[in-house]
């Protein structure tokens, strides 16, 4: 098993010990060309990241040698598959700073993880188990979110409010693309039961002050749910140290497979929460008219779970650990700083996110004056540059800034400074194409 700290040869200063070529060689897809021979410049890792050979190999190895249903079956393969699955759980839980492997529930992605929490709270509302009481919600209770949330950390809370009669409230955003915390003591109050917020915005790149929000929530006894989708893949994250009650992330954004993600939950809470999905594997005892439930994490993993995907995600965190998360973060910070500097030096570009490379990660969104984001994206695509355009599942955020759509470049450890140059050149081509032919 891989150690949790960077191995020898890694420094936390970024570039010097950083072997970009060796890393890129681990991602065969980066060698391909697109749109008639243009080298692929993949700047859409915020949507989904590419996978290194060790991840692909780990899945392949598992499928060709150990495949079987986990936690079932009396045969050797079942035993091996279960060991692989649980070993992945252990390594991933360490990677995110969970005190124990039992505090990591496998889900299909972050969206399912957040829904799991919201539905469990909803189920608690209709449960008469005494231990469910602390999760019950009703009229007068408040759930607090932020205006920068991905729909995945907004819509489930809207729905929970609708079902229980609780009230949804939210932090606004400042003109310089940060959370507006000026009314935090009013917003997080004695009626607040849940505070759900993102660690790092998938549009703005803004990293939120988790400690301050957790402290305010704790003071009033509210539970915290962190959307860690965009932080866990890109920087060292220690969830226990952050002190959040729950956190959600997706494998496909952290060099791992799609179809697997995770919910971190403090054991004390998980062990009192009612299940979300029910059926096989999550029970303790089943009678014809009622059932009792297994301890976490099994309680929240109904049915035969994903296996090769979990194994692949285990390999992904090994890969990231080998690089060293501080090194990954430093490299991405360098790319982000350079992109911010280059893009803000162009006329007619408006950054939608902090222009200062402080408390922000590698999602760089912008609008080009007079050219719709879709049209910019089309020209970029023609140059081989893959970005995302649109509202990036953060429609309220876009509304807040009075824009319909943005162009987003997002970085991962395999990107390079020269790719940022290609991006910036392509943006200028788009300006010329739509401005110049007038």
């Amino acid at each position: 098993m891989t150690s949790l700290v960077a191995g020898p040869g890694h420094t936390d200063t970024g570039s010097p010990a950083f072997n970009s070529e060796a890393i890129r060689a681990d991602f065969p897809i980066l060698e391909r060309t697109v749109r008639g021979g243009k080298p692929l410049v993949y700047l859409d890792s915020g949507a989904t990241s590419q996978r290194p050979v060790p991840v692909i190999d780990a899945e392949q190895e598992f499928l060709t040698t150990h495949l079987s249903a986990v936690h079932r079956g009396a045969h050797q393969l079942a035993e091996e598959a279960t060991d692989f699955y649980e070993s992945a759980r252990l390594r991933i839980s360490r990677f995110i700073g969970a005190p124990s492997a039992e505090e990591l529930v496998f889900t299909k992605n972050a969206t399912e993880a957040i829904n799991l929490v919201a539905y469990s709270f909803g189920n608690a509302t209709y449960s008469d188990e005494p231990e469910a009481a602390r999760f019950r919600l009703g009229p007068g209770d408040e759930i607090v979110v932020t205006e920068m949330e991905h729909h995945a950390n907004l819509v489930p809370w809207q729905e929970l409010c609708r079902r229980t009669g609780a009230t949804l409230r939210w932090f606004g955003l400042t003109d310089d693309f940060r959370l507006d915390l000026s009314n935090i003591s009013e917003l997080i109050n004695s009626r607040t039961r849940v505070v759900a917020f993102t660690h790092q915005s998938n549009v703005l790149g803004t990293v939120n002050p988790v400690a301050e929000i957790v402290e305010a929530a704790r003071k009033v006894g509210a539970l915290t749910v962190l959307d860690a989708c965009q932080s866990v893949p890109h920087a060292p994250v220690d969830l226990a140290e952050l002190g959040v009650d729950f956190a959600a992330f997706s494998g496909h954004k952290m060099l791992g497979p799609s179809g697997v993600g995770g919910l971190y939950g403090r054991y004390e809470l998980l062990s009192q929460m009612p299940p979300f999905l029910t059926g096989g594997s999550m029970i303790e005892q089943v009678f014809i008219d009622h059932s009792t439930y297994a301890a976490p994490p099994a309680r929240f993993e109904a049915g035969v779970p994903m296996t090769s995907q979990a194994v692949g995600l285990g390999a992904a965190v090994d890969y990231l650990n080998d690089l060293g998360m501080p090194v990954v973060a430093a490299h991405e910070a360098e790319l982000t700083g350079y992109a911010l500097q280059q893009l803000s030096s162009l006329d007619g570009i408006r950054l939608i996110g902090p222009s200062e490379n402080v408390d922000r990660g590698g999602a760089v969104s912008f609008v080009v004056d007079g050219v719709h984001a879709h049209d910019v994206g089309q020209i970029l695509d023609n140059e081989g540059v893959a970005v995302r355009v649109g509202h990036h599942c953060a429609w309220p955020l876009h509304r807040r800034y009075g824009i319909a759509a943005t162009v987003r470049a997002s970085f991962a450890v395999y990107n390079t400074v020269s790719e940022v140059d290609v991006l910036v050149d392509a943006v200028q081509s788009a300006q010329k194409f739509f401005g110049g032919r007038g």
Binding site: G36, H372, A373, H374, V389, H391, H398, A404, R437, G438
Partner: protein, 168 residues
């Protein structure tokens, strides 16, 4: 593909100076359509009138006006503009026929180049069909028209007696 083939001059011209833009009275139905993947929006109004007053069947009902307002990329804006040129003044039956041809071309993945006799400037959008992600852009206004027209003709009251009403 050259970007000039996708973004033909006709498209850029319509984008820069869209025809029949703005919301006008009178109208029969107003609809609001969005493209949920990118957030583009259009509000579109349709006014229908009888060729021969009182004849009532869809074949003789004419599209007297299409007006619209929206936010969107050059493809969606230009496509809506071209659509108004093509459909205003046609009978509903003719208009829906043109719409079907345009839709078939736009969703053809590059296999249907479009009949200029029927689609006029609309054939400039044939290139869009090679970019599946942009097909919805090209169809946004057309789908809004189809919806507004269907709502109007399915309303029990004689369409020509209605002006200024609004649904959606």
């Amino acid at each position: 593909m050259q970007m000039e083939q996708l973004y033909q001059e006709i498209i850029l011209d319509h984008h820069r100076s869209p025809h029949h833009a703005g919301l006008r009275d009178p109208f029969d139905t107003e609809v609001h359509h969005v493209n949920p993947t990118c957030g583009d929006e259009i509000t579109l109004r349709v006014a229908l009138g009888d060729v021969e007053p009182g004849s009532g069947s869809a074949g003789s009902v004419v599209v007297t006006d299409i007006s619209y307002e929206g936010m969107g990329c050059s493809i969606s804006q230009a496509s809506t503009s071209v659509m108004t040129d093509l459909l205003i003044g046609r009978t509903v039956t003719e208009a829906l026929g043109i719409l079907d041809e345009f839709t078939a071309m736009a969703t053809s993945r590059g296999t249907i180049s479009g009949d200029e006799e029927v689609l006029g400037d609309g054939i400039a959008f044939a290139g869009v069909s090679k970019y599946p992600a942009r097909v919805k852009c090209a169809l946004l206004g057309w789908m809004a028209f189809k919806d507004a027209t269907a709502q109007t003709v399915s309303r029990p009251n004689d369409v020509v007696t209605q002006t200024g009403g609004s649904a959606s």
